[in-house]
Amino acid sequence: MSMELRHQIRNGVTVVTLDGRLDSETAPRVQQDLRALLPGEGQVVLDLSGTVYMSSAGLRVLLLIYRHAQSGSLRLALTGLTPDVRAIMDATGFLGFFTVVESVDEGVEALTV
């Protein structure tokens, strides 16, 4: 299974949806595509509700994107973590690096305040 990225703008917030598996096979392209999709500034919500699997490499891509955003003036939040993905991110400490919101709407609201 591959990974599909979709994006839309909601109330000025870029919402990117990642559907599929984020692993070593898909990670390089996801990283490339995300960097191309993300604006230089503003707000972004990454919706992972369709991300069914997250590997070590997947976690690293997420963190790299997050760090990249932080180094500019982009604010980024994650949402839609499945229980499995959340447990993995929690156990490995990756969860602590991110702003996590309960829903896309909450993210849009939190980031636009």
Binding site: D23, S24, E25, S55, S56, I88, A91, T92, G93, F94
Partner: protein, 671 residues
């Protein structure tokens, strides 16, 4: 800025369908390099080596890549393989050479061996010994090891799985590194500042002919690989990240991390044991062999790692450096460390190169090095371990003396005094940091069992109760095992507190066994290495059931941390008393021991111990500097009066006299 690409990041040939080039000999193991993975492995006696690659979980290899002769430098075979998806990769080595056991060679090209430098093993299932490549980047942020002075440590020995595996633990990932993270607030509340983790290197938990369970894990397979089954993310092969996160969180809480490491033997056993890695890679180098090439068995487990051989010494050093630098661990406790001072023929070395290398290694400089200074062949080096002014020791004599004193043996009061002040008969040159004081450890009775059983009860271990130590210096206080007799229980409660109080008021580095602070029992089993179940797991229901004992232990730890004079000082800062002030009684029939530790200011502590079954009135010395005596703890008193909150101890009404109860320990402090 442009980053220059390495000029050797391209293949020179194809082998078995894979693009490869001659690799780099160092570092050993599988290392991610631009475009691929560099594989490097040592064998001195092999005639050929083949890299075997598998897709994750596949029964058959996807390719076998023989190392061309040109890829060998000395006895090291190295190859860079390009375009590998490391997350979907497992690997091993097929090593050919002579099968001549009479010369020490046991090569067998039909087997695929683990890489001794593997950063991960699959760890479970039919292919559990296969090696994996780890992503070793980790964001430590500004992690700072606590770097606590050795004598300030309060060590807490725990089993990663057993600590949270019990359903009562309440953690979201029971029995794992992540589960332990959730218990950090408990460790903080208790007040310990160092955890010593029982083996976390990959081992085979079914490696036991008696019960089919090896729970403790003193039988390593992968020395560079954190145990996958202790990671809730182990199935996703993220145990490296999960373990690093554990260390990072413990450090954030001010808690150091020591690893219990086993370099004296491996899981491969003797001639009858499996060939997993070393045995097939280079048996004659890695193991100590007798003149007729059988295995020396100084470890009691079948084989003995040839740890002072220069190659093996390098392996051990590489391994410890890896854990110290990549995992940020703060030190190591070496299982059966006396073996590390033996040469290739088992002889005792005067200046063991391995121990010297570890003592002076630049990366390990700040690491604690703790020796279990004996082995299974009768070598006992407590007090005489080659220390290079650097090593400390599990003080087995402290354990035995305190146990005998507590149960009321005659003639041990004098030695008890010596043990309380840092065992200067053993460590006067090295100071109190050299002695790790303990009364219980994973090996033997729990503290509750020490005062509940006269004899071991190891029937469930499958060896007819013949395994485990027979010399426990334990006392059941009147009835063997579980009882509801209030008098017996009262004596046990007092003796338990006596042990804890003496341990935490002794100079040296105290070590507690996890669960002793809440009365954990193993029902008299003193060798529970082979049980993975309620018998060995910490039952967190005891936290409530024995809340009094927890509070007592917490206060005793806090008291120690509040009083530097208990952690070290000149011999002149200790004054001995007895029933009469300034008059200790060192005669053989005396069971009363009184020490006053005076560090100046208000750091003055009076420790009175009475292992007699009758009370004694003690004449108190005048408190120094015009201060007054306050009562911190009295194990004869009912909870919660058995110990007070440090800093809030009530003043004694009578400043000249104190009655120490039967079989009791009391501590006074000046304010």
């Amino acid at each position: 800025m442009t980053t220059l690409e390495p000029i050797d990041a391209y293949p020179t040939q194809r082998i078995s369908g894979f693009s490869v080039r001659a690799g780099r000999s160092l570092p050993f193991g599988a290392t991610r390099v631009p475009g691929g993975v560099n594989f490097s492995v040592f064998s001195n006696h092999a005639t050929s080596v083949t890299l075997v690659l598998y897709r994750s979980g596949a029964a058959e290899p996807m390719a076998e890549l023989p190392f061309p002769e040109a890829f060998r430098v000395g006895s090291v075979y190295a190859m860079t393989v390009f375009d590998l998806d490391v997350e979907n990769l497992e690997y091993g080595y097929r090593v050919d050479g002579p099968h001549q056991p009479w010369l020490g060679h046991r090569f067998d090209a039909t087997r695929v061996l683990s890489d001794p430098y593997a950063r991960m093993l699959t760890g479970a299932g039919p292919y559990r010994h296969r090696s994996r490549v780890a992503l070793d980047d980790f964001d430590w942020e500004d992690d700072r090891p606590p770097r606590l002075p050795h004598e300030d440590l309060v060590i807490y020995e725990l089993h990663v799985r057993g600590f949270t595996r019990h359903p009562s633990s309440g953690v979201s990932a029971p029995g794992t590194y992540a589960g332990l993270v959730e218990k950090i607030p408990y460790l903080k509340e208790l007040g310990v500042n160092c955890v010593e983790l029982m083996p976390v290197f990959e081992f085979d938990e079914s490696d036991n002919i008696f019960t089919g369970v090896n729970y403790w894990g003193y039988s390593p397979i992968g020395f560079f690989a954190p145990k996958a089954s202790y990671a809730t993310t182990g199935r996703e092969h993220m145990q490296v990240d999960e373990f690093k996160h554990l260390v990072k969180e413990l450090h954030r809480a001010g808690i150091e991390v020591l690893l219990d490491v086993v370099f004296n033997h491996t899981a491969e056993g003797d001639e009858r044991g499996p060939s997993i890695s070393f045995k097939g890679l280079d048996n004659a180098t890695y193991y100590m062999l007798t003149p007729d090439r059988h295995y020396y068995n100084f470890s009691g487990t079948g084989n003995t790692l040839n740890c002072n051989h220069p190659v093996v010494r390098g392996f051990v050093l590489d391994c410890l450096r890896y854990w110290a630098s990549e995992f940020h661990v703060d030190g190591f406790r070496f299982d059966l460390a006396a073996i590390l001072g033996r040469g290739p023929d088992g002889e005792l070395l005067h200046n063991p190169p391995l121990l010297e290398s570890l003592a002076y290694d630049p990366i390990l400089r700040d690491c604690k090095l703790i020796a279990e200074a004996w082995d299974a062949a009768g070598l006992y080096q407590v007090g005489s371990f080659p220390d290079y002014s650097r090593w400390s020791e599990w003080n087995g004599r402290y354990r035995d003396t305190v146990r005998r004193y507590i149960k009321g043996d005659l003639g041990v009061t004098g030695e008890m005094a010596t043990r309380m002040v840092g065992s200067p008969d053993l460590y006067s040159r090295r100071g109190t940091a050299a002695t790790v004081n303990f009364i219980t450890s994973h090996d033997g009775f729990t503290l509750r069992d020490l005062v509940s059983y006269d004899h071991k009860h190891n029937e469930a271990n499958g060896e007819g109760n013949r395994d485990g130590d027979d010399t426990n210096h334990s006392w059941n206080c009147g009835q063997e095992g579980e009882t509801d007799d209030p008098a017996v229980l009262a004596t046990r409660a007092r003796l338990t507190r006596n042990a804890l109080l003496l341990l935490l008021a002794s100079r040296g580095v105290p070590m507690l066994l996890a669960g002793d602070e809440i009365g954990r029992t193993q029902l008299g089993n003193n060798n529970a290495y082979c049980h993975d179940g309620p018998l060995t797991w910490v039952d967190w229901g005891l936290r409530e059931e024995n809340a009094d004992l927890f509070r007592f232990t917490r206060r005793a730890i806090a008291f120690r941390r509040a009083h530097p004079v208990l952690r070290g000082g000149s011999p002149g800062s200790v004054h001995w008393h007895g029933v009469r002030a300034w008059s200790p009684d060192w005669s053989g029939h005396c069971r009363v021991l009184v020490a006053m530790f005076d560090g100046g200011g208000d750091d003055c502590v009076y420790v009175a111990a009475n292992s007699h079954w009758e009370a004694h009135a003690l004449e108190l010395p005048a408190p120094p500097r015009g201060l007054t005596w306050h009562l911190f703890a009295d194990t004869a008193a009912a909870p919660p009066e058995d110990a007070h909150e440090p800093g809030h101890e009530p003043a004694l009404a009578d400043q000249t006299r104190f009655v120490i109860g039967p079989r009791s320990v009391a501590i006074l402090v000046t304010h």
